[in-house]
Symmetry: C2
Subunit: 68 residues, 2 copies
């Protein structure tokens, strides 16, 4: 398993957290997504390494921005 941390901006409440978890969680190989609303940190556990663009795309689908 691989763990990677990203920072996402724009989340303001638990609904936002749930949206990010849902979209990132649907990426192939993802086994877990933990989100801290206050810091914007998103910890993704996956089989193998994800491309940053994949994670960024999922975050954008949810309606937020990934900080590169």
């Amino acid at each position: 398993m691989t763990q990677s941390t990203y920072v996402v901006t724009g989340m303001t409440c638990g609904h936002c957290v749930a949206s990010v978890k849902e979209e990132v969680g649907e990426l192939p190989g993802v086994r877990g997504v933990d989100v801290d609303l206050i810091s914007g940190r998103v910890l993704v556990t996956s089989e193998g390494v994800l491309a940053l663009e994949q994670v960024e795309g999922a975050v954008q689908v949810a309606g937020y921005q990934l900080v590169r």
Copy 2:
């Protein structure tokens, strides 16, 4: 049709607005719910007059507070 305006606190994003609209919209007689996120104002259009407690209850189910 009757129109009443309420003030709801705690909404921070579009998901919050959607939750309030959904719960208040399910009250008997309600025909429309407009929510302004910034001001917290909720305009309810209904057949007949709603009890304040009904609207407050729906807002609480959504996870927010109605200002009395």
